[in-house]
Symmetry: C2
Subunit: 419 residues, 2 copies
């Protein structure tokens, strides 16, 4: 079969035009856009997406946490095969993060409808407040779907400006009545830009995402003694800065030596009193550890603890706090295999990989067979107006999503448990 015959015809020009149109909602003069969850801009974007879903022949529904669905009934009863992502953004965002998965999903749904009624129902979802910029926690809509947080608690969440999720949903007209579990899918596939540099650096067309890294965020304060940098011999110092920098350097070095896929980042560090000629009396820094293997993440955290105990034994006071933690999420192996064979059939180069960022798919994974498809991000840039993916790469990813959903709606199990 040729590449075109293996999949579904996707209207690539329309996909690109709609990405540009959606990207114009909340746009600023500097190439970015800001479309925080449940804002007026989010409302305008939802209205646009809902209109495209209707145009594609989908039944548009909204659940009680504001998740927006377009549903195409199948010949068989039962839960839908779902794709989707989110359309809220960070501040000064690029045009592709989240939006790509939703807009491509609409193209796939439209292509499936034009092909004739599928065996299984198909749904495209745009989940509420994925970014978590305005309301914490992030992944809010999919989190409620997964039962990770009760609906009432989610509706009561407050933004910094005092606005509540429930009130804001009503204000923008997206407080639905549907139970958030109404469309719990039979399988979920999320298409997304990588937001990292791997595919771009390796020149690979698509990533088959096997797992989302777990992460542990630590905030550490080391207290020593501030002293005159000229008059205090090294032997009489308790240099909190040197202790912190030494430990931070070793943590990053060890992750580098351990190699892919573990990552370690010391993104913030501050010294007190922060004067050129005073030995630092206090150092505060953060550690961001990520690994798709829970055991390896635990080991990295244990090594951090050990390093901190060493610092304590050298006479420093140490206060360490784990401020955030997510266990790793493993996606469905059979679904990954289905995506991978699809890439082969479409003659797209692919590689297995992990997601370094969080995605709605990691919430869905607790409820149904789930996987993700990544397309390259130019130089790994994301959460930035410079976020870019080549048009051809965007079209290829949508074709692979279409190919995958075509297989999933055909009524077979494809080795996927529960399907």
């Amino acid at each position: 079969v040729t590449r075109r015959e293996a999949g579904l015809r996707i209207d690539a020009p329309r996909l690109l035009a709609r990405l540009a149109q959606l990207g114009a909602v909340g746009a600023d003069a500097h190439g970015g856009r800001t479309r925080l969850a449940l804002s007026a801009e989010d409302q305008a974007a939802r209205d646009l997406v809902a209109s495209w879903l209707r145009e594609a022949g989908a039944d548009v529904r909204v659940d009680a946490i504001g998740n927006l669905y377009g549903v195409l009934d199948g010949a068989q009863a039962g839960p839908p095969i779902m794709t989707g992502s989110h359309i809220d953004t960070v501040r000064r965002a690029g045009a592709y993060d989240g939006c790509y998965g939703v807009v491509a999903g609409i193209e796939v749904l439209d292509a499936l409808r034009r092909r004739g009624r599928p065996r299984r129902a198909v749904a495209v979802a745009a989940f509420t407040n994925e970014e978590g910029v305005r309301f914490a926690p992030d992944l809010l809509g999919s989190r409620v779907v997964a039962g990770h947080i009760p609906l009432e608690e989610a509706l009561a969440l407050e933004a910094d400006d005092g606005a509540r999720v429930g009130d804001e949903l009503r204000r923008i007209g997206y407080a639905g009545t549907l139970a958030p579990t109404a469309f719990l899918p039979a399988a979920f596939v999320e298409l997304h830009i990588e937001q990292g540099p791997v595919l771009d650096a390796e020149g690979v067309a698509v990533g088959v995402v096997e797992a989302v890294q777990g992460h542990a965020w630590w905030r550490i304060a080391i207290e020593g003694t501030a002293n005159h940098a000229g008059t205090t011999p090294m032997t009489l110092r308790r240099d909190a800065g040197a202790a912190a920098m030494g430990l931070a350097g070793r943590l990053v070095e060890r992750a580098r030596a351990d190699g892919v896929p573990q990552v370690a980042t010391v993104g913030t560090l501050s010294l007190e009193p922060n004067a050129i000629n005073v030995v630092p009396g206090r150092a505060v820094f953060t550690v961001d550890l990520r690994d798709p293997r829970d055991a390896m993440l635990e080991r990295a955290e244990a090594l951090l603890q050990e390093g901190l105990r060493d610092v304590e034994r050298q006479g420093f006071r140490v206060a360490a706090e784990r401020i955030s933690h997510h266990a790793a999420v493993t996606f469905d192996p059979a679904l990954c295999a289905l995506i991978e064979s699809g890439a082969r059939e479409l003659q797209l180069s692919s590689r297995r990989m992990n997601s370094g960022a969080s995605h709605d798919a990691q919430m869905l994974a607790a409820r149904c067979p789930t996987a993700m498809i990544f397309v390259p991000s130019l130089r790994g840039i994301s959460h930035n107006p410079k976020e870019h993916t080549e048009p051809a790469a965007l079209a290829q990813g949508a074709e692979l999503l279409a190919h995958t959903l075509l297989r999933l709606v055909d009524g077979g199990s494809h080795g996927i448990a529960g399907l």
Copy 2:
């Protein structure tokens, strides 16, 4: 001989009372005092010191850079034996830094006068703007005496508030007509608190200061690439923070391993963008290197350069600037030996040591045989209202200064070249 018979009787209660009285000029409600150079507070302190010098029988003179001298003529013609220090302070200073050397010098001059006319003239100096807080550079008065900076240039220096040294000297009434070299001494001995923890930690009464450390201050910027901390594999990062912290940690570690007397301090470090989940794209930090041995200081700087070249070879952009540098100053060995033997005669425990801080004596050392005497600083605290030296230790230091000056004014050379 007993301890008292070996030296001169010092009026210790008056020494302590005058230190308290001088310490009250510019005092705040929190135990500190602020007496920046050529301020109204400095003027009041100068007036007080001048009155004490006159009371001690000295001829009070002021040179063109505002250095204040009290001179007691000797039986022989020729340059004076000089002691002294400074009475300007940093902000929220302690009561002893500088003032101790001036007030003790007045007590010694008074004791010498009461004993009968000395062979050699004696002078007590209070040098202008030692601290360098209001006007840079520091050590200004002694710097002009040493010819390190021309008088005209010094008078033209501007403070942050726009005030000029020359104008301010006139305003407070201390613009003298005497050439700054008028009292170039035959020998100079400065008595000072250590401002470091060594004597206090070792329970030693006095330090015989053989040298002032040289220092080199560097400001270093390392530029890498800011990246997402979750999606960027270690192999594709240019983590400027890790590069800076690794280098800083190694520098401090090496100085610790090399041992006394070298010291290395990374007192400031800032990361950009300084976010927990972003790989630092830029790190700026300072390095303060000090060693009393110029060759070892140069070696430390060479190793820093080598470390920076390593960082460059790893693909970072590095900008390094030496923002300050002083060569080490070695004091007169025979004068040090005279002080040391004086300590022995007075039954005071002593040790040879280096000065980690800058002092007027290091400027005088270019012009005449010079040395310093240190007394302990409690826990090494200085430039702080908590700066403290025990009253008995203050009296002992003054006794050793008196003993030393008594020997120097007797007309002998004591093995000191040029005396």
